[in-house]
């Protein structure tokens, strides 16, 4: 790609012989909001640290705007980081924290002041200049950390689970805020999180990782609707994952029935994983359903009810705005578009 700003090529990292990244390659496009998503231990933070320069890979190369920066120390890179635990300097006030990077670059006092105040204004901390960062709330500290990084006009901002320590409401607020900042500054954000909802909300591109390798790269919509394998499907949103057999093109058998689907090109009688999202299952009277089962449990989730149905020994998860009575027998239908077929995962 032409507008690639950061490129990782065959990055290998291991800690004391334990492989963390096993030959990871990734192109990140300029001015995109990219999220590295995965469970803890999948190597997403390690990837970020390699880009930031805090970790030198055992082998492989890091390119920035086409130049090899693999061995460049962090202070010479045009990236800035928002750290997980904020990492604000406790011996400096808010103003000096934000000014730190500019002072090191000997920016003159007048320009420095303008830029610092402007940045504090942008993150909504006008009037907090003289405050001691240790007296601020988590959300405010987070904003200072973001301002401290962005004031240096980095080409790429790295964010390492920056919202992990905030409560739900604040987190939602900050998500919108971060997206707004990214769009108004028009720079690249590389964001690390284990929260799939966060990833879907903010990103232009989501990179799903597992065990030091990339599982899938795509837009949030693609990742959600067209997960490449059962792992991605399971990690992004909730899913029913069943084993099935591809009968022929556009026809798959699972749960004892044959269903029409939109997938083709699998070998005949191939074993596949079938993924069905809980909200894609239509609940109908038992007699009209292709599948039928007994309602085991109903949980109220606010917007919808989560209904657990047992059908021939399989537990199905259904999201529906209509509640059902436990013990009742209901029917379930699944449209062809809602059946996602993927190659069976090894392991």
């Amino acid at each position: 790609m032409e507008n690639t700003i950061v490129a990782l090529k065959d990055i290998v990292v291991d800690f004391d012989g334990e492989a963390v990244l096993t030959g990871l390659s990734l192109d990140i496009h300029d001015k995109e909001f990219v999220t590295l998503l995965g469970p803890s231990g999948c190597g997403k933070t390690t990837t970020l640290r390699v880009i930031g320069g805090f970790l030198e890979p055992k082998s492989g190369n890091v390119f920035f705007g086409g130049k090899d920066i693999t061995h460049l120390p962090p202070y010479k890179r045009q990236v800035n980081t928002v750290f997980q635990k904020y990492a604000l300097f406790p011996h400096l006030n808010v103003y000096e924290n934000v000014a730190f990077g500019l002072r090191l670059r000997k920016v003159d006092e007048k320009e420095l002041k303008t830029r610092v105040l402007e940045m504090l204004e942008m993150v909504g901390l006008h009037g907090f200049e003289r405050r001691d960062p240790t007296t601020l709330s988590g959300g405010q500290q987070q904003r200072v950390a973001i301002a401290r990084a962005l004031v240096n006009h980095p080409k790429v901002l790295l964010l390492d689970e920056p919202l992990g320590a905030l409560d739900l409401k604040l987190r939602k607020e900050m998500q919108t805020e971060l997206k707004r900042i990214q769009q108004s500054l028009d720079i690249t954000f590389i964001y690390v999180t284990h929260d799939q909802e966060e990833a879907l909300t903010m990103s232009d591109t989501v990179v799903v990782m597992r065990g030091g390798q990339i599982q899938q790269i795509g837009t949030p919509v693609d990742i959600y609707n067209e997960p490449k394998n059962a792992y991605v499907a399971d990690f992004i949103g909730e899913s029913n994952i069943l084993s099935g057999v591809m009968q022929r093109d556009f026809s798959v058998e699972f749960a004892g029935q044959e269903f029409t689907c939109v997938d083709k090109g699998f070998p005949k009688r191939a074993l596949v994983d079938v993924v069905v999202r809980p909200e894609d299952i239509q609940v109908v009277p038992a007699i009209q359903g292709k599948l039928s089962g007994v309602v085991k449990n109903v949980i109220f989730k606010g917007v919808h009810y989560e209904i657990i149905v047992e059908q021939a020994g399989t537990l199905w998860k259904i999201h529906s705005t209509q509640s059902q009575r436990p013990g009742e027998i209901i029917g379930m239908n699944i449209g062809p578009d809602d059946i996602h077929i993927m190659n069976k995962m090894e392991g």
């Binding site: 750290f83 300097f89 006030n93 000096e96």
Partner: protein
């Protein structure tokens, strides 16, 4: 509540009065009286002839403190970044000499530094020397550094383990190379440890008499030796001894307030 806490504090108060305040008052009393109990300035005014000893004491203690700080600072930092299990072993090694008797340790240095001591004999193998090492000011400083180094390392280490790696990484991320990482982040954050360490090395160094006697010979008397002579030695003049102690105390207090000043100043003004 208030009454209760006061009652709880009572034993400590009694202790303080009996063993700290009362002796202090006695020192002051003796410093301003002569042998028959009359008020006099002569003890204090006569101290001017010992000025060189005071100066030497302050100087040697200051040099020892600086050397301790320079040695201990990087060591403590490295210690604090080791893995927890290694940290314990290394700390143990730092403390190990302290388990041995102070006198014994200093005697050991005597035999090593002597004209026919271990070090000179070693150099002798190569036909170098012998060096005159014992009974010099250098030997005294060496003794101070050797004996008090752990007291510098421990407070520094204690504060440095609390400095999160991410703070140093943040500085690096914002453009700080090695020099600025140390001066703008590490030093200001470890300042409380530095002042504690300085106090814990400087105060015993300035008042020591064993080290200077054993390693410094007769020519390098320190203020501690002088005081000891007034109470236990031939001169036996505890009025004069008290006056010396009093002045030493004032000197120490002055030095300490100076270092504390440093501590509070950086808090206010930022690091640039």
């Amino acid at each position: 509540m208030k009454l209760k806490s006061r009652i709880c504090a009572a034993p400590y108060l009694v202790w303080m009065v009996a063993f700290i305040v009362a002796p202090l008052l006695m020192v002051v009393y003796f410093a301003f009286t002569d042998g028959s109990g009359h008020f006099t300035w002569t003890n204090l005014s006569g101290l001017s002839q010992y000025a060189p000893v005071f100066v030497r004491s302050i100087l040697l203690a200051a040099i020892a403190t600086v050397i301790c700080l320079v040695l201990a600072y990087p060591l403590s930092f490295m210690l604090s970044r080791l893995r927890a299990s290694k940290q314990r072993i290394m700390l143990m090694l730092v403390m190990l000499p302290m388990w041995m008797n102070f006198l014994l340790r200093t005697y050991a240095w005597m035999t090593m530094l002597e004209k026919n001591g271990l070090i000179n004999r070693f150099f002798g193998l190569f036909g170098i020397g012998p060096f005159n090492m014992i009974n010099t000011q250098g030997a005294v400083v060496l003794g101070m550094v050797y004996n008090y180094l752990p007291y510098m390392i421990l407070p520094l280490y204690t504060i440095m383990v609390k400095i999160d790696d991410s703070l140093i990484e943040a500085a690096e991320d914002l453009g700080a190379g090695m020099f600025y990482k140390v001066t703008k982040v590490l030093l200001p954050l470890s300042l409380p440890g530095i002042t504690t360490g300085i106090t814990m090395v400087f105060v015993p160094s300035i008042s020591t008499f064993i080290i200077s006697r054993m390693l410094g010979g007769g020519g390098n008397l320190l203020i501690g030796d002088l005081i000891e002579l007034q109470f236990l030695g031939n001169s036996y003049n505890y009025n004069l001894g008290s006056a010396m102690s009093l002045v030493l105390m004032v000197v120490v207090l002055l030095c300490m307030s100076l270092t504390n000043q440093l501590d509070s100043e950086t808090k206010e003004g930022g690091v640039f």
